[in-house]
Amino acid sequence: MTTIAPAGTGSRATLVLGWLSLAGVAALAALGLWWSPADVVQGDSVRLMYVHVPSAILMYAGCSLCALGSLMWLRKRTDGWDTLAQASAELATLFAALTLVTGMLWGRPTWGAYWTWDARLTSTTLLFLLLVGYLALRSVPASADTRARRSAVLGLLLVPNAMIVHYSVDWWNTLHQDATVAKLDPTIDDLMLFTLFAGMVVGGVVFSWLLTHRFRVAWLQRQVDEVSLDRAIVERRAEADLAGHGSTR
């Protein structure tokens, strides 16, 4: 049986993931914006938690996958690992930005300010800037090997930075609240806790779907670069042959 090459980055698996993502987002919106109760102290602003916390977890996931891809590239030197690092870093950057924006929007009604130089907020901003730097480094013109090596070194630094962000609320005296869900007996309403976990599960599905597509885009870009390089080498050889024949006449 022959398979037809797709006209994009889609496949049967991404189609299933895509529909699951859409259904999950719709269910999460219904849970988060309507069914789940308002908080006694924070009122309805607590509904921002259902997008803020999953965004932060997906930021960590992106950083971890980028570091894994970087480490494995340094060991194996295969394109797939570098492509994984690249795709996950882009997603980590997106979710880091969303974590910061939703956190600021939640901070205004809760703390009375969009921004404060709190340890959690500052360390998250530094992680976001590191991710932007990682993407900038990848866009610096260089051979594929040099680019992968440089980015792998920077990619490995994402894990200690993500750990600083995570533990900042324990290590420093911060305005940001401590871990709520990680406790064995979280003091949170059951439906709120369920909605929060639903947000994490739906976020995980959306992240997997986006990562698959982004990985394939990066893979296609590599193929285009290789084809262009092959074509350029053939053209240069043809020009050199032509010049050689011309000089012998």
Binding site: V51, L105, V217
Partner: protein, 44 residues
């Protein structure tokens, strides 16, 4: 709903950003796949 502007802006920014990223990624994938030979873009 109390704090509706903050809540809806937050949810809207997340939904909008993810939708924009998805649209950009899928469009770029379609453009690039036209430039790559069929045998190099089988996703299984």
């Amino acid at each position: 709903m109390t704090h509706a502007a903050y809540v809806l802006t937050g949810w809207g920014v997340v939904a909008g950003s993810v939708a924009l990223f998805t649209w950009r990624t899928l469009r770029r994938g379609r453009t690039l796949s036209r430039l790559v030979p069929e045998e190099r873009r089988r996703w299984g």
